[in-house]
Symmetry: C2
Subunit: 214 residues, 2 copies
């Protein structure tokens, strides 16, 4: 086992530390956040910090670093329009999605630069990523500052959930493996997903005989 304590983590080379810490908490989701400015300039940005907060109400969280210019563009659009989209990234357009993280000028649209078509639905002003198979239209609710590292938790409610028919099981589950959804670790390592196992609701009186014994 390698063992890094707090002090030795702080003393690591920056790139090594970012990779190590970033991958230590496990796989992350990969989503494109779609926004538009009041002036109509579209923006798309890949985020690995999108996470489910609850299903009733249907809330999604997003960690934003407002001090990073790229993320600030997304934040400014969310703040001024109150809406954004979350578009799940699949294998077939992972390269396009990844390159939205390049520092384009404010006037450039990542949709254009990265060959990703946008699309709109009625009565909702933020752009979706057309090719994405699982997309959310979000209403911004609140931003909560995280003082320890100057980031923010952006909380939104799902207004629209769009998903390709064949991906949804009779029980409502979206099959992420069938969708070709990817996961991320570190800044640029993408994983494909395979269905490993579906386990029953756990009850103390119905414990299985575990094949692994610790």
């Amino acid at each position: 086992m390698m063992h890094f304590d707090r002090e030795s983590i702080e003393q690591l080379d920056k790139r090594y530390r970012v990779n190590l810490v970033n991958s230590s908490a496990g796989v992350k989701s990969a989503n494109l956040i779609g926004t538009v400015s009041k002036a109509g300039e579209e923006n798309a940005a890949i985020f690995s910090s999108v996470s489910h907060l609850g299903s009733s109400p249907a809330l999604i969280g997003l960690i934003l670093r407002p001090t990073i210019e790229l993320e600030r563009h997304t934040w400014q659009n969310i703040e001024s329009t109150g809406v954004y989209t979350i578009n799940q990234v699949s294998k077939d357009f992972v390269e396009n999605a990844h390159y939205t993280s390049a520092k384009f000028a404010r006037s450039q649209s990542e949709f254009v630069e990265c060959d990703l078509a946008s699309e709109y639905i009625e009565d909702f002003s933020a752009p979706f990523v057309r090719i994405s198979r699982i997309k959310l239209g979000m209403q911004f609710l609140e931003t909560i500052p995280i003082s320890h590292n100057n980031t923010s938790l952006v909380i939104g409610q799902i207004e629209h959930l769009l998903v390709e028919d064949e991906l949804v099981t009779n029980e409502g589950l979206i099959d992420l493996a069938l969708a070709g959804s990817v996961g991320v670790s570190g800044l640029n390592n993408y994983f494909s997903l395979d269905n490993e196992v579906t386990l029953p609701y756990a009850r103390p009186e119905e414990l299985p005989k575990f094949s692994f014994k610790g």
Copy 2:
């Protein structure tokens, strides 16, 4: 495309809604949170809401539902001792890890009931999951209430990062596929991870010719 708006999401059958919303934001990490009470009772609980908040300082977030009895046990231990562990779940013990979500009595230890051995390191009082290949010893910093659904964001700093030597690349990245780490969607669907692609740092002047064109 299936299209659910906010109202139709609220009217879905509960189980269907939980599955649908929970899987709509993409794959989640699977980690066991290890804690111990002041009286020495060990607790282990699987969480899919662990997420990276930043690498300098090295911060990890965790969404907790204090109204759920199982999660309250974890929270009470974190609050009273100030420390906890985050242990990444791999394929070989995913079943053991999953069953920690059963409603055991407060006096029962999930380590014992689910055949997971605990282990300790010097000068750190929370129990680690011995079999886990990637483990974090955490110092609790702050809890931030999320009023919209009565959950909390629990923020902690990494005090100890333990990882098997062969999983770490020269650049500091932990190979989650090699570790056999799993992802989750919904409440009980586990994925294995395969390395799909590693992409370079993105620069606007170095865009590739994209194989997908939207």
